[in-house]
């Protein structure tokens, strides 16, 4: 091992600030290439392709134009593209991660596939869900939430949703639009409609 002593703690978080775009989400606007886009889709990925979109609001109901959102999810069979998932690894180039900056009107969107069922630590099935991390100016540390899908019967028995007061579960549930594989979920960083964030 290299010369090290045990650290006296982790490195604290600091805000992503207002000027991350040219580094983290340049999307053609700056002289830098994107490591990530807002899509997890790969040519060989299997499963139902869906779009998740919405807007981000602050405590005054004002749109947040300088958020960065990241998603992490299993594939359609409920497997993660990470060797730490000791079950059978995905056989596609799907990686399950994407990143999106909000636009001037607070809009975000992700193109992905609907994930499969992932077991909880007791082996109980969790309803299909996507992890979402929210970064932004004014946010000293990112916040973690989850995206569930309105048309999944498994939500009723999901062990994590069960931890959330019933009246707040809608803040975690992306609602399917009629006739389209599009789900909408707005995020509220603060206020009456505040999104549920998890202490993980």
């Amino acid at each position: 091992m290299q010369d090290s002593v045990k650290p006296d703690g982790i490195t604290p978080s600091q805000t992503v600030g207002p000027f991350f775009k040219y580094g983290l989400t340049p999307t053609g606007d700056y002289a830098w290439n994107d490591a990530f886009t807002n899509s997890t889709l790969t040519p060989d990925v299997t499963g139902d392709r869906v779009r998740i979109e919405g807007r981000v609001f602050d405590g005054d109901g004002v749109v947040v134009p300088d958020c960065m959102l990241e998603i992490w999810q299993a594939d359609a069979q409920g497997r993660f593209a990470d060797p730490q998932d000791k079950r059978a690894l995905p056989n596609a180039s799907f990686r399950g991660f994407a990143r999106c900056g909000t636009d001037k009107d607070g809009n975000y969107s992700f193109d992905t596939i609907k994930p499969g069922v992932v077991p909880d630590p007791d082996g109980k099935p969790q309803a299909p869900h996507i992890l979402l991390a929210v970064f932004g100016r004014g946010m000293l540390r990112h916040l973690y939430t989850r995206i569930y899908f309105s048309d999944e019967a498994g939500n009723a028995a999901d062990p994590v949703l069960a931890l959330v007061p019933a009246e707040r579960r809608a803040t975690l549930t992306a609602v399917r639009e009629a006739g389209k594989p599009v789900y909408r979920l707005d995020l509220h960083l603060q206020g009456d409609a505040e999104t549920v964030f998890f202490d993980v």
Partner: protein
Amino acid sequence: MTFIYPVDSNKAHPLPLSPDYKSSIKRAPNKPLIPMCHTLSELTGPVYGHETVREGDNDLTTQHSGEPIGERIIVHGHVRDEDGRGVPNSLVEIWQANSCGRYVHVRDQHPAPLDPNFTGAGRTVSDAAGYYRFVTIKPGAYPWGNHHNAWRPAHIHLSVFGHSFVTRLVTQMYFPADPLFPFDPIFNSVPDEKARARMVSSFDLENTQPEWALCYRFDIVLRGKNATPMENH
């Protein structure tokens, strides 16, 4: 190796609401975060390696036709876990202002010059021992509108992945003995003095390259402990 991620380690982070940092007032949740057990979703994370990084992406001084203006520096260190082990193959992304304290971002209106030879973005992947290295320009301090005569201490923004989605870290690396530290609400949003010190790089004379560049060392410590610690020998 199996890792655990004690929630207690998060006490090093700032609280979401830090009223001296005005932008946090309307963007911090009012309701308490809901505790939950980590499931496979939290315990795994994106895996990105060398294929994500192009040759030269860790040198911010060679991305344009000429050399940027300013003080050339080396920034290096290890990405580690809470036990001190190096975190290998972790993507490290950085972005920063130029030597005059101006970001290339279109919304930065600080009346300081842009440098046509400096974008200010870079990335690299930690090696098998967790080691990473960048060459860049020392960023300048800059004013911001938080309060009267507010200036940010010089800093480099860092984004690091680590072993799982809950090790994800976005932070800022500061420079030693910056006189602006006592006045910066973002730096001081971290309540513990020792934790604040972990955001400050150290001057590294040993790895300073004669006739070429000063060096700063910055170790990044991510969440994650060995779930099955070895007996002490």
